[in-house]
């Protein structure tokens, strides 16, 4: 027969202070676990979802970031005339050539940062359907107007609609804010590429991006362009290109998170062990009584294990509650492939919360196992004899 759950709940309630302290300890460990997952997840998705698998990006051979790439006008035209490129409704190639520069701009906090300023064409928006205006209007080609990404708008000084921003000795009106769905475009400033080229004194583009008519045609176009003697370029899947830029830092963040959480979990398991040993120790007589009443040793073991897991789940629940406000918090770091700022938001997903709860339950089970086994092995007579 099983020992009723109410017994465990009442036990936890009876030792209120100890229960809350242990649960909070385990809860904080779950919180740290969810926090690091949300951090690494947010950063990774900022760069990883920046590209689309249907798009290909062409940069100069050897460049790992657009900033260090150069594609001259003739090469760009040759790339955009490839037959495998999808057509837009008006029959022209669905391809864009862009200029990318880093510009020193002050953050709202006063420190300065390197912001990606991207010269784009109308096709740039067609190629990235996730980009849409959330405030103001689109810049008009030929005018000194720019639109800013949602996170640049939030974190960089003077990036409100109606503000003017100084780039390359010119005053640019900010006429709109776009949302790029958490991708690194959210940290950028976009304007007309044809106007940017003379103003920034750059006679060349940095990259050409196009949509493939058939994803399977990637190999053919890659082979042809990379062998083309007129240019020295590399063709990448757009999503892989951006994901590679985040690989090192994301791995580092994940590794650090894993390292911290695992070691910390060990500490929490020690704590749970302590609590449960004490719980078992102070209830020796009770255990003796339970065994004398005819509850099996297995039932006692299960009961104490359940109590420990319940305690841990309570902690895990507290950890999840604490983790909820973290969701959506914006922070920034640097894309070390391009030295530009990437802002991103913490993403707390239901899966992460679930992982946090499971993590807590495992800590509870590990911490409860030895004390529970200890309890179930008591000799009835000795246990009852004890004060």
């Amino acid at each position: 027969m099983r020992i009723p759950l109410a017994y465990n709940i009442r036990n936890l309630a009876a030792r209120r202070v100890s229960t809350i302290l242990t649960a909070l300890g385990i809860g904080l460990v779950s919180w740290v676990f969810i926090f690091t997952l949300a951090l690494a997840g947010g950063f990774q998705s900022a760069l990883q979802t920046t590209g689309s698998p249907q798009n290909a990006i062409v940069v100069r051979n050897g460049s790992t970031a657009e900033v260090t790439s150069i594609i001259d006008r003739e090469s760009a035209a040759a790339i955009e005339s490839q037959p495998e490129i999808a057509k837009s409704p008006d029959g022209s190639a669905l391809a864009t050539h862009e200029l990318v520069v880093l510009w020193n701009l002050p953050r709202k906090s006063g420190t300065t940062t390197n912001v990606v300023v991207r010269g784009v064409t109308a096709k740039s928006f067609a190629l990235r359907p996730q980009v849409h205006l959330i405030q103001g209007r689109m810049f008009r080609p030929g005018l000194e107007e720019v639109v800013v990404g949602a996170l640049a708008h939030e974190r960089i000084a003077h990036c409100l609609v109606g503000d003017k921003i100084r780039l390359a000795g010119h005053e640019w009106s900010i006429v709109g804010v776009f949302d790029a769905h958490g991708t690194s475009f959210d940290s950028e400033i976009w304007g007309d590429v044809q106007l940017f080229m003379p103003v920034f004194d750059r006679p060349v583009y940095q990259s050409v991006t196009f949509r493939l008519d058939e994803p399977s045609h990637f190999g053919a176009i890659q082979k042809r362009l990379e062998a083309d003697p007129r240019m020295s370029v590399r063709v990448h899947h757009e999503d892989e290109f951006y994901a590679a830029q985040s690989a090192t830092l994301a791995a580092l963040l994940r590794g650090l998170g894993l390292f911290v959480t695992l070691i910390m979990a060990l500490g929490a398991v020690f704590g749970a062990l302590n609590t449960m040993y004490a719980a078992v120790g102070s209830r020796t007589k009770e255990i003796g009584t339970l065994l004398a009443l005819g509850f099996s040793r297995g039932a006692v073991l299960v009961s104490f294990l359940i109590e420990s897991v319940m305690l841990a789940l309570f902690g895990g629940f507290l950890g999840c509650l604490l983790a909820l406000p973290v969701n959506g918090m914006a922070t920034s770091t640097t894309n070390f492939a391009s030295f530009s700022e990437v802002a991103f938001r913490f993403q707390v997903t239901p899966q992460m919360l679930l992982a946090g709860m499971i993590f807590a339950a495992v800590m509870g089970a590990l911490g409860g196992w030895f004390p529970s086994r200890n309890a179930s092995r008591r000799v009835i007579v000795e246990a009852l004899r004890q004060a």
């Binding site: 302290l21 904080l28 740290v32 926090f35 051979n61 090192t248 390292f259 704590g271 004490a278």
Partner: protein
């Protein structure tokens, strides 16, 4: 101190609990030292920067270079006693994951400006004499197993092409804060390989000034000189320049601090709990001690001392382990932390934290033990 043995005996009565508590504190302090060292290793470049060095770069953006012709004009600015220059090369060795810095430097002047980069005289001569040679830091050489005479192939990203540099020297830092994970090669070699339009451009100029107090005046003078040219400059102290780079890492520092605090706090809760349980179990015993004439103050010190001792031992273990492990491992986090080393300040802070944890976790049980009423406590004995 004659009661020290009593404290020890008390701790030894439940060896398991003492062990578990000590180790959970050690773990907390180990993590604290690790996270703190992540932050201090980012800041190593700040400690290595010299107050008499200024950095001159393009005013608008890192990606724009300055003309080589600025060198003479910079050298003539009053207060400037030396000039050197270099370009960030940004190449890839074998795999993009092998991150380390490469600089093309004006070799004849670089050692004058950077006396902390120490190279044996014969190696320096060999480096100076060979245009395609390079020198590498000791830590970097160790990481990749390079020896003098090895050729290092590097794929250029900013300067396209396959480059090869022959190692002619392995430098060491004069202090531990000097980065030993960089490859330096000849700016002249880079420059002559570039196409016409990209020749004679410099990424960064370093200036040495006669005294730190002249930094503001010289910076202003340099920036004024080039203000209306097509390549304006931004001049700042090396420290400010490095601080700018560190701020690029962003709020990661704040995040690590939050994490570190959460860890310490969590373990502290657990420790408080354990200490309270330990004291509660001994209610009768404490009452007996009081009956024997132990004063309230002494009981307070005995119970509190127990918590303090456990925390301190845990703290020494945790901090010591961190210092030892990271020292032995030569950990660099994939090139992100070229200077991963637990500072004495960090260890001191960790130990203080351990004491704080001991005091905080000992206070509640110690006070309640001291306040214990003998009659009430003894009545519990069945």
């Amino acid at each position: 101190m004659k009661f020290f043995r009593l404290i020890l005996a008390n701790l030894m009565r439940s060896k398991r609990r003492t062990f578990l508590t000590t180790f959970s504190i050690a773990i907390a302090l180990f993590l604290f030292c690790t996270l703190r060292t992540v932050i201090t290793s980012f800041e190593a470049s700040l400690r290595a920067s010299e107050a008499t060095r200024l950095v001159v770069r393009h005013g608008a953006s890192l990606v724009f270079p300055l003309p080589l012709s600025y060198e003479d004009r910079l050298a003539r600015v009053p207060g400037v006693t030396g000039v050197t220059y270099g370009n960030w090369f940004g190449g890839v060795y074998q795999d993009p994951k092998n991150q380390f810095a490469q600089f093309a430097m004006d070799v004849p002047t670089m050692f004058d400006l950077f006396p902390d980069t120490v190279l044996p005289e014969d190696q320096k001569k060999a480096f100076l004499a060979e245009r395609t040679s390079c020198i590498v830091g000791r830590a970097l050489a160790k990481k990749f197993g390079w020896k003098i005479g090895d050729a290092v192939p590097i794929l250029g990203t900013i300067y396209p092409g396959d480059w090869r540099f022959v190692i002619r020297g392995i430098y060491e830092g004069r202090t531990k804060d000097v980065d030993e994970n960089t490859l330096f090669f000849h700016w002249d070699y880079l420059n002559e390989s570039l196409p016409q339009g990209r020749k004679d451009y410099v990424g960064i100029y370093w200036l040495r000034i006669a005294s730190p107090s002249m930094a503001a005046a010289v910076s202003e003078r340099v920036d004024d000189m080039f203000r209306n040219s097509s390549q304006p400059t931004k001049t700042e102290t090396e420290k400010a320049f490095q601080a700018g780079f560190i701020s690029m890492i962003g709020n990661i520092q704040l995040l690590l601090t939050i994490l570190g605090s959460a860890i310490v706090f969590a373990i502290m809760l657990v420790t408080i709990n354990t200490m309270m349980m330990a004291a509660r179990e001994r209610t009768t015993e404490i009452a007996v001690l009081k009956t024997l004439g132990f004063s309230d103050g002494l009981i307070l010190r005995l119970v509190g001392g127990e918590a303090l001792l456990v925390s301190l031992v845990g703290g020494v273990l945790g901090c010591g382990l961190a210092a030892l492990i990271f020292h032995e491992m030569d950990f660099t986090g994939g090139g992100f932390f070229p200077n991963f080393r637990v500072l004495p300040e960090t260890i001191l802070a960790g130990l203080l934290l351990a004491v704080l944890m001991g005091v905080l976790s000992g206070v509640a049980p110690a006070v309640s033990a001291a306040r214990l009423r003998i009659a009430n406590a003894l009545r519990k004995v069945a």
